[in-house]
Symmetry: C2
Subunit: 302 residues, 2 copies
């Protein structure tokens, strides 16, 4: 199950993997990553098993799975085909949160003195490969602590971006110098709660293919799309958060839908800048709300 552990408090300690398993924090007794490419990663264990790991407390650089011999040396390259690594890629693309279990080891000052500790939910904010200390290719996932959401799953990569990056103002004029070593800060914001399951369902029906332009963005280890609300949520729009009000779109068409560059006719023809460009791709199980389509179109009448 993705999200917070049903039977454990953040910070709770466990004397063994077995007890962490029973509390639903990390189900496997051996594997460091729990999850599949299809579902994403439920949880990981950070216990010093990979010498390339980096632990900064709220930020973890987590080394993927595979390529080790019995004594913890890399003897082969890691790949994204590995189930655990593929699961973490899905977590990145879907913006899912991952439970982190820290195990006692000397490599991190954030590790518990003994046993294991559930340290709550993290999200994968970037990943990539490099040559590890032992000279073989490893995949690493940057993970950032997440807190404050009443429900611990976010919908898409848009969110990850802003969690990972907070812009600063330095408009001094002239060509900006920028910053060689960006710092971090905390921010607080109000948001409209929205359903992850609704977006997931729509994206699944359309297999991540854009209903407007037919594009399916392929990336190493997966594909990417966004669930876009037709009638916007909140005042003054008051759109419902239901599958009938959500389209599976590529990010570009999502921008255009939100800013009125794309509207839909009553027969679901896509109208771009006033010109009919073709039918919206539909799916037998995905019935789209005509009310929402009309409200959105009306909203962009000039």
């Amino acid at each position: 199950m993705i999200g917070e552990a049903p039977n454990a408090e953040v910070g709770q300690e466990f004397s063994s993997r077995r007890l962490a398993h029973e509390a639903g924090v990390h189900r496997p007794i051996q594997a460091g990553i729990c999850g599949t490419k299809a579902s994403g990663a439920e949880s990981i264990v950070l216990s010093g098993g990979y010498k390339d790991d980096e632990d900064y407390g709220e930020v973890i650089v987590y080394t993927g799975h595979g390529g080790q011999d019995g004594s913890g040396n890399q003897v082969n390259d890691q790949t994204l085909d590995d189930t655990g690594n593929a699961a973490l890629v899905t977590s990145y693309l879907e913006g899912q949160l991952v439970r982190v279990l820290r195990g006692a080891h000397k490599g991190s000052k954030f590790a518990p003195k003994s046993g294991y500790r559930y340290d709550g939910l993290f999200r994968v904010t970037s990943y990539g490969s490099k040559l590890g200390i032992d000279g073989y290719r490893i995949w690493q996932f940057r993970m950032e602590a997440y807190e404050g959401a009443p429900f611990p799953i976010i919908a898409d990569r848009e969110s990850i971006h802003t969690v990972a990056e907070l812009p600063i103002a330095d408009d001094a004029g002239g060509t900006p110098v920028g910053n060689e070593t960006p710092e971090r800060a905390t921010t607080t914001m109000q948001r409209i709660l929205r359903s992850i399951a609704v977006k997931r369902q729509v994206k699944a029906w359309h297999d991540n293919r854009c209903q407007v332009c037919d594009l399916r963005i392929e990336v190493p280890g997966g594909s990417y799309s966004e669930g876009a609300h037709i009638q916007a949520l909140g005042r003054p729009h008051d759109g419902p958060d239901i599958t009938g009000n959500v389209l599976c779109l590529c990010p570009n068409c999502h921008v255009m839908l939100d800013a009125g560059a794309i509207v839909l006719s009553d027969d679901f023809t896509v109208i771009k800048a006033g010109i009919e460009v073709g039918p919206l791709r539909t799916h037998p199980q995905h019935s789209i709300s005509l009310d929402c389509v009309r409200q959105h179109r009306e909203r962009w009448r000039q």
Copy 2:
């Protein structure tokens, strides 16, 4: 100047527009919106002048400018060509924060009892038009209170999205029911500080045209692009937040760059899924860091 008022505290009251002007909260003495299409909106005044306004405290539905007679009745349609309305569209597309000055009036329980109050920074999270109470077309901008950022400007629409929406988990299985009336919640997160000016400069050099696919997303009232870091910020990538490490991309190419579906060769040829698809569009003033290009490409070696 965009962002927090240099000479005023949030919550500070002013007995007149003139004093709010002198404190740098809202520069015009008459106009309700301060800004231009080019710069975006610096500040707005919410003082009951438009009967279609809605004030929920942390959320404001702000009616655009124009179309009124002397006694505050709509007698014409509003348009996005109006300077103030165009400025608020730019604030939405650029993700800029807008200062809000509330004036005393009976229409809102959040208004001060007398005079004016600086209520801090809000962002435009959506907008659109509708027939107003008087039967003429008005444009309305949903604005949400923003707090917690050490510097009050954000970089692009990606951010707005997640500020406006926080997904909730309701994976009960089966077709999700969703939520007819989404609620709100507060969340707190750590982020890497990044420069808005760096992104702005790169987007300006390329006039919002994608350096990879050449697309320029046109929407009513403006165009849209994103500033994408080549070498990612933070551990383990440690990319610098400088113009040489930022590309002007459409959202789709941004996703592909971040997930390794696009890499660049040393001569800045775009390589998509291993195939050279053509040169990166460049700009004489935009010199791209070869180190960053190499780090990014290396990061996606399989």
